[in-house]
């Protein structure tokens, strides 16, 4: 094994297929998107692209809809971070007690992660529609005042989608945290117990510090996943009503496939890329902490 690792040609041979695929399928389209953002093109092959410099960038940055979508995605990120990760962690802590039947719950909480986002979107769309299960249930228990068009009401539409997204993602973060908690040596836990670290003390002073690396990973995953959110929003509201639930990626889709403006769509893609870099750096900075060795 060591001999192979020292052989640079062999290493290159192993790396090359993956690198080529990565370059062709990811880097080239990203580069193409960057180039296209400087052009105006209506998506018709035999119509030449017209170089317009930075005017697409200016058009997007001065568009109120774009800023509205940024506001939505920020709210999406904050609420997801405040719900998905803590709930996932809480479930992982509870499951790590390995009570009777914990495997069933582990499976049950993970199931939404297995379902396709389209299925989840449609499922919740039907639950949340005015004549859907949720409103029927609320009426059934006499809470008629709470009945509303969840995906239309400007006070609830975006938050409802975010909470559905939280529901889908909890299982993933629960699994990551559970695996990390399982990796904490028993003697550390036992020693902490003898020192009186039980309950919340154990969670905040033993578990969280010792699985900090996995929490950072979860935060980065949430930040990047939220910025590319598209399918759930598109299936549930298509960004409507009247752009109320638009996020940058649904706006990108509309610019390209509805408004035939591939230049502006590419600019939105570039902005999303820049945002993802910025937020990843910020989240890594904020969560910076010395790694605990044990």
């Amino acid at each position: 094994m060591e001999r192979i690792r020292r052989n640079k040609k062999a290493v290159l041979c192993f790396l090359m297929p993956g690198f080529l695929l990565y370059t062709v399928l990811l880097m080239v389209p990203i580069g193409g998107s960057l180039v296209m953002s400087f052009f105006k093109w209506n998506g018709i092959k035999n119509v030449p692209m017209v170089f317009v410099g930075f005017s697409n960038f200016k058009a997007v940055i001065t568009d109120a809809m774009f800023w509205h979508s940024i506001k939505n995605i920020m709210w999406f990120m904050v609420l997801t971070l405040c719900t998905q990760l803590p709930i996932g962690l809480l479930l992982a802590v509870m499951l790590s007690e390995r009570f009777r039947g914990y495997r069933f719950f582990k499976f049950a909480y993970f199931v939404p992660q297995v379902l396709s986002t389209t299925v989840i979107g449609l499922l919740w769309y039907f639950i949340l529609m005015p004549t859907g299960v949720l409103n029927t249930m609320l009426q059934g228990i006499g809470l008629d005042s709470l009945v509303k068009s969840w995906l239309v009401d400007k006070n609830t539409a975006m938050t409802t989608i975010i909470l559905v997204n939280t529901w889908c993602g909890i299982g993933f973060h629960m699994t990551v945290s559970y695996a990390a908690i399982s990796g904490i040596p028993d003697d550390v836990v036992e020693a902490a117990k003898l020192d009186g670290a039980v309950g919340l003390k154990k969670v905040f002073h033993i578990i969280i510090p010792m699985i900090w690396e996995s929490i950072i990973s979860s935060i980065v995953v949430i930040v990047t996943a939220v910025l590319k959110t598209f399918d759930l929003v598109y299936v549930m509201t298509e960004g409507g009503p009247n752009g109320l639930t638009d996020v940058p990626s649904t706006l990108l889709y509309k610019e390209a496939f509805r408004y035939n403006d591939f230049g502006k769509a590419s600019v939105i893609g570039v902005y999303i890329f820049i945002l993802s870099v910025i937020f990843t750096v910020i989240s890594l900075r904020i969560t910076k902490r010395e790694r605990l060795e044990y």
Binding site: L26, N42, T224, N242, G269
Partner: protein, 466 residues
Amino acid sequence: MSKGMRKKIAVLLAAVMASAGLSACGGNTGADGGQDAESKTETKTDEAKTDSEKEGSGEEITIRLLTRMSGADSGTKLKEEVLQEFQEKYPDITIQDESTNDSNSFTNQFKTDVASGNVADIIQWPGISIMKEYADTGVFLDLTDLIAETPDIKDNVDSTLLDMMELSSVGTEGTYALPINNQMEVFYYNKELFQKAGIEKAPETWDEFYDVCDKLKESGVTPWVVGATNAWRVVHIQTGLLYKMCGVEKAKELGGRKAKWTDEDVVETIAFIQDLADRGIFGEDYLGLDYETEKAMFVSGQTAMSFDGSWRIAELKDMEDNVGVFRMPYFTDREEFKDNDIAYPSQLELGGHLKDEPEKLKYVWELASMFASKETQQRYAYDCGNIPVRNDVELETDKMSPLLADLLTIKENDVKVWGSDAWAYDTVAVLEDIVGEAFIGALTGMTADEAAEQIQSRLEAAGSGQ
């Protein structure tokens, strides 16, 4: 590797992960477009060479179709019959049917084809003036000569419909589509619910309509549910109102930029829809309901009326004895527009690339023409409840739906001026979406003026390429 370097790489990888999702996202939506798997058929028989191969260069011919006639569409069965008929005549020609009923999937598929220069041979692209962009860039083929050389089409297809497909009014010479069906839009009403509410006759004016709605509400029925989640449901209502308030010419003026969406009379149509909503005519939750739910509510008797196209007739077959139709009411102070009404023609376009493939074009045109043949149009009427696009189709009343018979009577006696979708007269391809979003905005808090302003400013931005 240093710690700093490791962190930089981690940041870069995470950022790439995020953008990778985006690039993948665009690709996916365009590539398959959620195509209706059931409709994706490819038929070919390996029988002996027949006319097409003998006459041709010997190369195999494959004809690609991208239409909306798929799945639940009323024309699906008919399309399959036409394709089968064509296939029987030319067994060595391969038909690749990529039709999909879902409008988003259809649009994605079409636009991806256009972007990649791989346009289907037969396309069912909606709208009229918005064909201009594709006509000017050679995506669609000019059918003027083909129509002129086909007496069966030239002499028998309704000339007003053929004229609608002619684009000279928007600065492009030629006819770029062949009409294959024509749809009227009317109110369908539940006779039993009307009777229970004590309504004796269908309304003709808006004042009568309000009386009808009041009586229906008193009887505990939502008068007219609109599945506003699909914005086109509201767009169609506004088009109908526009024609009754300002006449069909107004839509043409809007399309030709001689009028603006912010004009007082146009704003009035938006305010009128808001008023209908405020009166509770659409019910409480219509903004969260979609078209399918709207239809289901009409069938189950939860709502008494539905404003819809004649494409709905086939779906109402099981309850057609309990359903009646009436035209959109008129305004007593604007009687001059009483006989203006909506008709939505549906048409087939041919791919522009066919001009370089004369041999193939012959077969493609023959297949397209079969959809407008006398026989097909007759079947369209009997099986799907569609209004024929030809003048020589004789229909027997006992073989067609009573609803279609009623529509044909209205068409014959009451309607003098036809207009298509209001947005269809504009060359800006995205106007339908712009209008739809603004109307929904008007129903969710914007004023009618703000909605009109939103339409006008976005339209101008789209038109000027900003």
